[in-house]
């Protein structure tokens, strides 16, 4: 099969594409390899590419800390914050997409601007609030923070998904005698299912990977997998093999999940980009 390239140099282009792909993938590959080494193999110089794999690091990680507890916390916080976020963002996006006012654009920009602020800027007030309400190191605290911090992105994504629904169709539904809820359930929801799914998937990934707040607001009880990974960088030095094993355990579910939903994710991020 022959492929024609618009400006020649097929090998050069292919080479660079592969080089960049490998560069991006290398840390993950190294993480995967190190996880199956012993601590000695992990710090060996020169680095070993060929070695006898061992599960000892995984065993130690499981012995030292309860992986399942952290995984459960990650699962609960990301799922609940995503569902909660969708429930809050959908009505907001609905009103902004279909009942535009002069300030709709400004409100959207303002919401996005909150994402520009470094999270650490809000650390002290959020920490104090969590402390005074007794929510420190609890799942509700994380869920609330995750939901709120993902909300601007959710509203934006749902807004662009909803805007794709032609106005005529909404008017037709209203003339057909639909209430706002009927309109949402029977028409907007099925027509924008793709966009809603992508929004949910992205926020699930973002919440799962969130580290800043889980490190700062939790310790033993409500720690997520991010906190588990961090616990392996101890004052006595890094234990590379165990750190890698813990990291692999933490990211594996979301990588598998992302792999299967990548089409949805890409669609959601480019929604409305091409008319």
């Amino acid at each position: 099969m022959s492929t024609t390239y618009p400006n020649g140099f097929p090998y050069v282009r292919t080479f660079f594409a592969w080089a960049i792909a490998l560069l991006l993938f290398f840390p993950l590959l190294w993480l995967g390899l190190t996880a199956f080494k012993t601590e000695m193999q992990a710090i060996a110089v020169p680095p070993q590419l060929i070695f006898t794999p061992t599960l000892s690091s995984f065993v130690e990680v499981q012995q030292r800390s309860d992986y399942l507890l952290y995984a459960k916390n990650s699962l609960i916080t990301s799922l609940v914050s995503t569902i909660l976020g969708l429930m809050i963002a959908a009505p907001a996006a609905y009103s902004m997409a279909f009942f535009r006012t002069k300030r709709t654009r400004d409100i959207l920009m303002w919401m996005l601007s909150t994402k520009m602020m470094p999270a650490v800027g809000a650390l002290v007030p959020v920490y104090v609030m969590a402390q005074t309400t007794g929510l420190l190191d609890s799942l509700p605290a994380l869920i609330i923070v995750f939901t709120l911090s993902n909300l601007p992105i959710m509203v934006w994504m749902l807004y662009s998904a909803f805007k794709e629904v032609p106005n005529d169709i909404l008017e037709a539904v209203r003339l057909d005698g639909a209430t706002v809820w009927d309109e949402f359930r029977h028409v907007i929801l099925p027509l924008t299912m793709g966009g809603i799914a992508s929004t949910g998937l992205l926020c699930l990934v973002l919440a799962w990977n969130e580290a800043f707040w889980s490190l700062n607001l939790t310790s033993a009880n409500a720690g997520t997998l991010a906190a588990l990974i961090a616990s392996y960088s101890s004052p006595e030095g890094l234990f590379w093999a165990k750190l890698s094993a813990a990291s692999l355990l933490a990211i594996a579910p979301i990588i598998v999940f992302g792999w299967f939903s990548q089409k949805q994710l890409v669609q959601g991020l480019t929604f409305g980009a091409v008319k």
């Binding site: 032609p166 037709a172 209203r174 209430t179």
Partner: protein, 351 residues
């Protein structure tokens, strides 16, 4: 009291007044067509009746009930949109039965009503398809079917044929006319196409700049236009209108005294093209042979900036561009307009 009454309807979008005070009475079972050039407010007026826009002033009464502030969903109207606005994720059957489902009509009745409508519209074999599997004409029929199934008080059509090709447009026009004859439903139909207006309407409402210019049966508008705008808007090719001052011989030719600062109108079919030396001297500029009709475009006088006149005759012609001819017409066929473009009825009747 009329079935649907519009009283002093005004619509403003910000500082712009689109509808400037409309009073209109529509009787039950009438087929009303709103016609006018783009931007005249005809679609806005329809949307006000549908409740898709809120009126700024004025009131709407439907069947004895004030619906001015009633939401669209509760007005008991059905609308056929220019874009059809079908629900793309539903089958034809679901599209047509959706309103009944919302109204909590039981399944058996829904089935029966949709099937009856589908039969009328020749859609029976397409009921399980989705809109994207249908042609433009079929989608149009589904949109109409969706309206029929509900048996609403008033049908609203917003330029329903403008997305169809010419042949299909003619065919669908006939279908809509026969549908109205069978169902006898009150209908308001918006179009910019005066042929649709003439062929479908019981009464035509001619709109311009947010105001009603004239309301009447198609032939009333054609024969007795209220002003120069209506006279020229209705009929193709449009009525010839000549400023009286531009052609002084007109008065003699018409055999009556004409308003000196006004204009005279004559429809192309009443303009007779004869041999040179009779009537007004004119030159042929262009011949359009349509088969059934022949349109002869002429200019009065010798120069190129003479007053243009179009004649329409059913006979074919051997004339060629550049030929000199004589133009004449019946005084009875003339429409007289004053300086503001209003029809001068008194003079016309005298003539």
């Amino acid at each position: 009291m009329s079935f649907l009454e519009l009283k002093g309807i005004v619509k403003e979008f910000g500082p712009v007044r689109t509808i400037k005070g409309i009073d209109l009475q529509i009787e039950k079972g009438e087929f009303i067509v709103f016609v006018g050039p783009s931007g005249c407010g005809k679609s806005t007026l329809l949307r006000l009746i549908a409740g898709l826009e809120a009126t700024t002033q004025g009131s709407l009464q439907l069947d004895g009930r004030d619906i001015t502030h009633v939401p669209s969903a509760k007005r008991d109207l059905a609308m056929v949109f220019q874009s059809y606005a079908l629900y793309p994720h539903m089958t034809v059957f679901d599209n047509m039965s959706f309103a009944l489902k919302l109204a909590k009509v039981d399944v058996a009745t829904r089935q029966q009503k949709v099937e009856r409508a589908a039969k009328i519209l020749n859609l029976t074999q397409y009921l399980q398809r989705t809109p994207k599997e249908l042609s433009g004409g079929q989608r149009q029929r589904v949109a109409i079917g969706r309206a029929i199934v509900r048996a609403p008080k008033v049908f609203l059509f917003d330029e329903p044929l403008s997305n169809l090709d010419a042949a299909l447009r003619g065919q669908t026009r006939v279908e809509i006319a026969s549908l109205h004859r069978d169902l006898g439903a009150t209908t308001i139909y918006v179009t910019h196409d005066q042929v649709e207006a003439m062929t479908l309407a019981d009464r035509v409402v001619v709109l311009r700049d947010g105001l009603i210019e004239q309301v009447g049966t198609p032939l009333e508008l054609y024969d007795h236009p209220a002003n120069q705008f209506v006279a020229q808007f209705i009929g193709t090719p449009q009525m010839n209108v000549v400023k009286t001052a531009a052609v002084p011989e007109l008065s003699r030719l018409a055999g009556t005294r004409l308003p000196t600062d006004g204009a005279v109108g004559v429809r192309p079919e009443y303009v007779r093209v004869g041999a040179a030396g009779t009537g007004l001297a004119a030159r042929v500029e262009l011949i359009e042979s349509l088969g059934s009709d022949t349109l002869i475009h002429t200019r009065i006088g010798e120069s190129h900036d003479g007053v243009p006149l179009v004649s329409r005759q059913s006979e074919r012609t051997t004339l060629k561009p550049g030929d000199t001819v004589g133009i004449s017409f019946d005084a009875t066929a003339l429409h007289l307009f004053d300086a503001q473009g209003r029809t001068l009825r008194a003079l016309q009747q005298a003539a």
